[in-house]
């Protein structure tokens, strides 16, 4: 079933704060929800579907729907880590196409910079726990092994990976809300402290409090709103794990989610004007853009080193808000803010210095889990929606 032309993003809101010491998580959900609904020109009373991930406080979407005072006939709590919100947009579009709802609210928020009780004990029941965590892997270590293998197979260098951070930092200079706004050079990255070889501190994303929200509506609702709405052209996700223990560290789930999403949207990588790629680490961007077909597999290093990711003149303008590497990474989950910046580009509301001229088609990609073990890649293709 094609979702083309049936669903539109009418509202998008990124919480302006990066450190939130004085509010509980539920309140931040409420603030981003209010922001996205106001952006769309809608109210809480208009919402008939609600989406959140497993990091939302309480009993799935039930606690949050009650907190927000929602009367909904469709709920979805798909949990795919940082890819969740991109899945949520696709699921909302499908639900709208099926007639299950017409105004879907998606919220995410979390406060990883704040001290609080975690649920780490639960990992003891994870089936893979006993065979991995006892060896002391960190999240950066898992991505570092992917980077090492990419270097081994394709000759990729630390300096090439650093170009991804340099582009993000260049864009973040124009974002008043970005956590990190200082210019960064290739030397700055490769001379920053090693976290897990070959990844340096500046190859790693930031940790921020905050969140974001989206409102996805039917074509009929979109026509009635005065706000510019962007079209959901296609969305697909893929779950990649180690199979039966043959993990491939240079291939991501994007190699499957990308072609599926492009086919739904009826476009090709050459048609895309702007990309938001979840950048948990520099290597995440490199492998993702290769797997989405923006450059040949293994050639990503040279591609990004040539300035491809710089907006507006690079071959593939990417993450013009500064991405998770510099701007914002609420809850250690990147997908939500990636979608929001893609919406800004299509509405021509990115910073004027970084706005892609005549931006008509944008792609947002989220990665949940870890590319070194098991992960979901989710690809969303959005259109300007002028037609």
């Amino acid at each position: 079933v094609s979702i083309r032309g049936t669903a539109f993003i009418a509202g998008a809101f990124e919480h302006p704060a990066r450190v939130i010491p004085d509010k509980p998580v539920a309140q931040v959900h409420a603030e981003v929800a209010a922001g996205a609904l106001a952006d769309a020109g809608l109210t809480f009373a208009d919402v008939d579907a609600y989406f959140c991930d497993a990091s939302a406080p309480g009993l799935g979407p039930m606690s949050m729907a009650e907190y927000l005072g929602l009367a909904v006939r469709h709920v979805d709590s798909t949990e795919t880590g940082g890819a969740s919100y991109i899945d949520h947009v696709g699921h909302a579009a499908a639900a709208i196409a099926a007639g299950s709802c017409s105004i879907a609210l998606i919220t995410m928020a979390d406060l990883p910079r704040q001290p609080r009780a975690g649920f780490a004990g639960a990992t003891l029941e994870w089936p893979e726990h006993a065979f991995e965590d006892v060896f002391g892997p960190t999240i950066p270590a898992l991505y570092a092994m992917a980077a090492r293998r990419h270097m081994h197979e394709f000759g990729t260098t630390s300096e090439q990976l650093a170009a991804i951070k340099v582009a993000a930092a260049h864009h973040a200079r124009y974002n008043e809300h970005a956590l990190l706004r200082d210019p960064v050079t290739i030397d700055d990255v490769v001379n920053s402290p090693m976290i897990a070889d070959p990844l340096h501190r500046l190859d790693c994303c930031v940790v921020t409090d905050g969140g974001g929200a989206l409102v996805v509506v039917s074509a009929e609702v979109a026509r009635a709103l005065s706000r510019h709405c962007v079209e959901v052209m296609g969305q697909a996700s893929w779950l990649k794990h180690s199979g039966h223990g043959r993990v491939d560290l240079t291939l991501t789930a994007a190699a499957r989610s990308g072609p599926l999403a492009f086919a739904q949207a009826g476009v090709t990588p050459a048609d895309v004007d702007y990309v938001s790629i979840y950048d948990s680490f520099t290597i995440t961007v490199l492998e993702t853009i290769e797997d989405l077909g923006f450059c040949e597999k293994g050639r990503g290093g040279g591609f990004v080193a040539d300035g491809a990711l710089l907006s507006p003149h690079g071959a593939l303008p990417c993450n013009t808000d500064g991405g998770s590497l510099c701007n914002n990474h609420p809850g250690n989950r990147g997908g939500m803010i990636r979608v929001i910046e893609a919406v800004r580009q299509l509405r021509r509301e990115a910073h004027p210095e970084l706005q892609v001229p005549d931006c008509a088609i944008a792609l947002a990609h989220g990665t949940g889990g870890s590319i070194s073990t098991r992960s979901v890649g989710s690809t969303l293709i959005l259109g300007r929606g002028d037609s």
Partner: protein, 152 residues
Amino acid sequence: MSPQLPSPAPPVNPETEAFWSATTRGTLLLKGCRACHVIHWYPRSMCPACGSFDTEWIEASGRGTVYSFTIVRRGAPLAYAEATPYVVAHVELEEGPRIMSNIVDCQPERISVGDHVEVLFHPTGKSSALPRFRPAPASPAPAAAGDRGAHR
């Protein structure tokens, strides 16, 4: 030489008890499938390649190569907080599976992808030992498939 790493005890359950018990005897077990002959990792009751529950424990050679690795220098989990720098790796076993572990008994900076390694076991003090790897000479020519059963 790096000092010996901490060896936190894994949670053991009925599905994995035989695996961890064998580690205390210096044996690395894998699960193979009698139906499709795939050897999988991590060990499960059912074969993730074909869905059969007709699986059996088989003894690994303990030899493999480094598929990829990293040196953890900062941000180590609590149990490893005093152990940095240490090496986390994916080791490709001769039998096929790539498994997460540590490379020990060597200078981390001297490790390369493709290096030959062999298993050793560090007791946790709780009826289990962690299978880790150390550099080893290149393996002898692989034995004929029949020598280790029909698994692949």
